[in-house]
């Protein structure tokens, strides 16, 4: 039993080999945050180009590169990992689990996302970034019109990152189904865990469609297949279908966790149970289901005919019903509550009207005949930024302020947090509200300039200033993080917000094993029930004993390097590299299968020591 000696890795090696979901959450946060800043920088450069008519900073191909990379980076490399950051940090704690179901797979998921993201962004320095838009429609993204390696980087980078996301989703599904604490029935799960669950299911069923789409595009560009070559019988619409069969559920993959985050924050800071919990759960499931039924609303002007357009139009409008249920339930949760406007709650409350506006323009866009007018205009840009930034990003900021102490053991500065909120919120509306009108006045999206004298000047100028203010707000968040972590301050208390769910019953930051004793759950808002019953903490469901932990492993990191090398090989048609890269992957899989991980145990003495030091 020599394997059972506890490994003690430190420094960088610890971060590379860790299989602890809390550390992987931090890795997702740092990497996703980095890509978010990169995508934000690309957005600012575009806004500078569009500040005044007929400017010449970034024109033509350069603007197209910025545009493509902004969209692709924000969706795949910023939004997805930031959501995974919060899911990793919070979900196992909320269900009273010691670990996730597949710690190794979880780590592999992160490293695949990261190597895919790095691969995609290296395109800037290796022959030019992709410039066919984040949707990469063929034939524009085919070899004929995208001759550089840019789109090949897009295809391979997203493929690798996509595998990482898919296995991450499976991990959370199994964790939530199999590893809930005793008494934590499905209908007692916190709302954020529910949304993480549905989002993971959407990931599982949506990502394979884009995988196939990317495979077809890759085969066309690299191996001479003719899927999208009309002269050889190919069909360009195929790409649009595959892309949006993935792409629409992806929108809900991104927004559902934000719904869950603000549900937790609003309920905590209104000091009330979430209003209409079961309706909220049901609405989440319905949104997830309908999310797969509406992809053609991205293709109304393609010409699939009035029957198809009508059906998808009605299905799209239907989504407004469960979403409306959610909006009202948040309002009713706030109604009559003892509301505390902390930074986290400001973001969560700011979410409600902003997201409602985005949802409303969504219903406008779902009307197929009207969509012929909005199609490819700035109205669409305004709409999806209202749901993604005004929805998802505000939710994420709320989550960061709320769960920061649980992730890092330190409280973010509240005053700076409020400035962060107001700058970001005002900047956001200044940026995107005028874009509705720019679109209605006829400004097409994805253009690198516009003419003077068409009344587009004012809207564009306001929009750029708004973007700058939003950028300052984001920087203030970074300043807050730096300030929080450099200043000497006491360890955050276990339960700083008077919380209601299980994550607040354990120390901040959570110990390696999460729960010294698995808690027994007696209802929704498990911790709050105990508080109301006058108990100091949860009743344990088991005696104190040694805790089994999985061993750290460097294999996920090496496997991702293998995928990275293979991706580079395919991009540049150097098949030797591709074979070597895939060989590394297979060898890692061989070792993983061949050598059983026996893990190690944390003994009772150490648990007692850790729990004594915790400030509960």
């Amino acid at each position: 039993m020599a394997q059972h000696v506890r490994p003690r890795n430190t420094g960088l090696w610890d971060w590379i080999t860790t299989v602890d979901h809390k550390k992987i959450g931090i890795l997702y946060l740092v990497a996703g945050g980095f890509f978010f800043l990169l995508g934000g920088l690309e957005a600012l450069l575009m806004r500078l180009q569009l500040m005044y008519p007929e400017q010449n900073f970034f024109i033509g191909a350069t603007f197209n590169e910025l545009l493509t990379m902004h969209g692709t980076t924000m969706i795949f490399l910023a939004a997805m990992p930031l959501i995974f950051a919060v899911m990793n940090a919070v979900v196992p704690l909320q269900i009273g689990a010691r670990d996730v179901a597949f710690p190794f797979v979880n780590s592999l998921g992160f490293w695949l996302f990261f190597s895919g993201g790095v691969l995609l962004n290296l395109s800037w320095f290796m022959g030019g970034a992709p410039e066919a838009g984040w949707t990469a429609y063929v034939p524009l993204s085919g070899m004929q019109f995208s001759k550089t390696t840019g789109v090949s980087f897009y295809v391979l980078g997203l493929q690798i990152a996509g595998i990482g996301t898919l296995i991450g989703g499976i991990n959370f599904l199994v964790t939530i189904i199999n590893m809930r604490a005793p008494g934590m029935t499905f209908m007692r799960m916190p709302m954020f865990t529910w949304t993480a669950f549905i989002t993971s299911a959407l990931i599982l069923f949506a990502f394979p469609a884009i995988t196939v789409g990317l495979v077809l595009l890759m085969f066309d560009r690299i191996f001479g297949a003719v899927f999208f070559n009309v002269a050889s019988g190919g069909n360009v619409l195929l790409w649009q279908h595959l892309f949006w069969i993935f792409g629409h559920p992806e929108v809900y993959i991104l927004i559902l966790p934000a719904f869950g985050m603000i549900s937790e924050v609003i309920s905590t800071f209104a000091k009330k149970r979430l209003f209409g919990y079961s309706a909220m759960v049901f609405a989440t499931i319905v949104i997830g289901f309908l999310g797969f039924m509406v992809w053609v609303h991205h293709m109304f002007t393609v010409g699939l005919g009035p029957v198809a357009n009508s059906l998808f139009s009605i299905a799209t409008m239907l989504i407004a019903v469960p979403t409306g249920i959610k909006i009202f339930n948040w309002l009713f949760t706030l109604w009559g509550g003892q509301i505390r406007f902390t930074a986290a709650n400001l973001f969560a409350v700011g979410f409600i009207p902003t997201f409602t506006i985005g949802g409303m323009t969504g219903v406008m866009l779902s009307v197929a005949p009207a969509d012929y007018q909005y199609q490819d205009s700035y109205f669409v840009v305004a709409h999806f930024h209202y749901v993604l930034v005004g929805g998802m990003m505000l939710g994420l900021f709320a989550a960061f302020y709320y769960w920061w102490p649980k992730m890092f053991g330190k409280m973010l500065n509240e005053a700076m947090g409020k400035w962060n909120f107001w700058l970001f919120f005002i900047g956001f509306h200044l940026t995107f509200f005028p874009q509705h009108f720019l679109g209605l006045m006829g400004m097409p999206r994805r253009v690198f300039t516009f003419m003077g004298g068409q009344q587009l000047e004012l809207g564009n100028l306001i929009s750029t200033w708004g973007a700058i203010i939003m950028g300052v707000g984001t920087l203030l968040f970074l300043v807050n993080v730096a300030y929080t972590h450099m200043k000497k301050q006491p360890q955050a208390p276990a339960d700083p917000w008077d919380g209601r769910t299980l994550e607040w019953t354990i120390a901040s930051p959570a110990p390696e094993y999460n729960f010294a004793q698995t808690p027994r759950v007696r209802g929704i808002d498990a911790f709050w029930i105990e508080k109301m019953a006058g108990n100091k903490g949860m009743t344990p469901a088991e005696p104190l004993g040694p805790i089994h932990m999985p061993s750290p492993s460097v294999l996920p990191f090496i496997m991702s390097i293998g995928f990275f090398i293979a991706g580079m090989g395919f991009v540049f048609n150097k098949y030797l590299f591709a074979i070597v890269g895939l060989g590394i992957v297979l060898i890692c899989m061989f070792f993983r299968s061949y050598k059983d991980d026996e893990g190690f145990h944390i003994d009772v003495e150490e648990i007692k020591e850790t729990e004594k030091g915790a400030r509960l």
């Binding site: 179901a101 597949f102 797979v105 898919l166 499976i170 991990n171 599904l173 199994v174 189904i177 199999n178 590893m179 599982l204 069923f205 949506a206 990502f207 394979p208 469609a209 995988t211 196939v212 789409g213 495979v215 077809l216 085969f219 066309d220 191996f223 001479g224 297949a225 003719v226 899927f227 070559n229 002269a231 050889s232 019988g233 190919g234 069909n235 195929l238 279908h241 595959l242 069969i245 061989f590 299968s593 061949y594 059983d596």
Partner: protein, 207 residues
């Protein structure tokens, strides 16, 4: 581990531990994702199945005898993997090993036939680039073939590594490998119908 040391296993050793149950559930979910993957490939194939502009049409090149033999071999291998799992549940380790090895051999035989088939088509001018139909055919059938190859390598590795006996640690591994193998078989049933039977009928006034 104690079970393994004493040669006494619980009735369903693959589900005896939480790790085992996680693995099986996770693998079922993974197969759900794989279903969408193959569903998308089938949709692509169906959309392009009459687009053999410059290349040969399916009814001109498919040989039903060869395909029928390949189908027979692969379906039989699914049956033998069932025997292997029955062996596992009877705690008859030798029986399990024997039937898994038969499964692997049948898998390799299937792959051999598929490679022979592809080489034959290549000489007939049916390639990845000959038409959109060709691209769709090789991508769908090739993805399946790639899955078969991965499956035989995986099961072989499990068999080579776990020669000493069944434990609650390796039972879930064999179990999910057999799930994977059944999945490959189900996909082949659809390929046989949609690609080959419909392809051959396509020449007789269909499509």
């Amino acid at each position: 581990m104690n079970h393994a040391d004493h040669g006494v296993l619980p009735a369903e050793p693959e589900k005896a531990t939480l790790e085992g149950r996680n693995k099986i559930l996770g693998f079922w979910l993974f197969l759900g994702g794989e279903t969408v993957l193959f569903g998308s490939l089938f949709a692509t194939y169906l959309a392009l199945r009459t687009q053999y502009v410059n290349g040969p049409a399916p009814h001109e090149i498919f040989q039903i005898e060869l395909i029928a033999l390949a189908t027979f071999i692969l379906l039989t291998s699914s049956l033998t993997s069932v025997f292997a799992i029955i062996g596992m549940h009877r705690q008859n380790f030798k029986m399990m090993l024997f039937w898994f090895w038969i499964t692997v051999i049948l898998g390799f035989a299937f792959l051999g036939l598929e490679i022979f088939e592809f080489v034959h088509y290549y000489h007939e001018g049916h390639t990845l680039s000959s038409s959109a139909y060709g691209s769709a055919f090789y991508t769908l059938v090739g993805f399946h073939g790639g899955h078969v190859l991965f499956g035989v390598l995986w099961i072989s590795l499990l068999l080579i590594k776990n020669r000493k006996g069944l434990t609650v640690v390796n039972a879930p591994k064999f179990y999910v490998a057999s799930l994977y193998w059944h999945f490959i078989d189900v996909v082949w049933v659809f390929i046989f119908t949609v690609v080959y039977l419909m392809g051959i009928l396509g020449g007789q006034g269909g499509a």
